[in-house]
């Protein structure tokens, strides 16, 4: 399918729910698909030492990150019999309650779509040079670290 075409992952600001609907609708012509698995990361209003997070400001080593995203997709295609695979990640400020990560996998059968989606999420968290500044309501900040 669209395995070989390198795709841009980063989007400016939050990922709107309508973008997700459009992505889903775009797959209705692919009638060999039986299952989609979607993961969405949403910004949490964490409270740290009495201060509440109001947004995360994402930055990245962009050129490297796009390459790593591409490699992760390629690895997923070689491991899993996916029909399609799409990844979008925010750059810049994303407010609490908004979506910052959208991973979308499709396959003929559910187990493949689900496993591929999980694989991609874990790989993205571990390997892509993206940095997150947690901005508190009082405009101070701290740097987020993935667990």
């Amino acid at each position: 399918m669209d395995k070989k075409k390198p795709k841009k992952v980063f989007v400016k600001g939050a990922i709107p729910p309508e973008k997700i609907a459009t992505s889903i609708a775009n797959h209705q012509s692919k009638t060999n698909i039986g299952a989609h698995s979607i993961f969405l990361g949403q910004i949490r209003a964490d409270e740290i030492d009495g201060k509440k997070v109001s947004a995360i400001d994402y930055s990245a080593y962009e050129e490297m990150a796009e390459n790593v995203f591409h490699e992760i997709r390629e690895a997923a295609f070689s491991k899993f019999d996916m029909t399609c695979c799409h990844i979008y990640h925010s750059l810049g400020q994303v407010k609490i309650g908004e979506i910052c990560l959208f991973v979308f996998t499709s396959s003929a059968h559910r187990k493949i779509a689900i496993e591929a989606c999980n694989y991609l999420v874990e790989e993205i968290k571990a390997k892509v040079p993206i940095f997150g500044k947690e901005i508190f309501e009082d405009e101070t900040h701290q740097w987020k670290v993935n667990k």
């Binding site: 080593y61 390459n67 990560l101 968290k125 040079p129």
Partner: protein, 78 residues
């Protein structure tokens, strides 16, 4: 030789810049460069700082003219 250094996230905050061009001895190794910049900018938690040469994580420690060395703090994607 000339090297391009790039700083990201909390490291860019500590260095006060996102990029600089350094003129260094041809014999400098990657870990020497790391030590030197960590000390210069008093970067906290050096264990957590990862250096990447020309966007390649599986990087050699030998540097050459024109290399781009990125100083990366812990990842926080998603």
């Amino acid at each position: 030789m000339k090297l391009t250094l790039r700083y990201f996230g909390m490291i860019a905050e500590a260095t006060g810049r996102t990029e600089e061009i350094l003129n260094v001895s041809d014999q400098i190794k990657l870990y020497d460069l790391k030590d030197q910049q960590i000390k210069k900018y008093k970067i906290q938690d050096p264990e957590a700082v990862q250096l990447v040469v020309n966007q390649d994580l599986n990087t050699s420690t030998v540097l050459k003219e024109g290399d781009e060395i990125a100083f990366l703090p812990p990842f926080a994607g998603g």
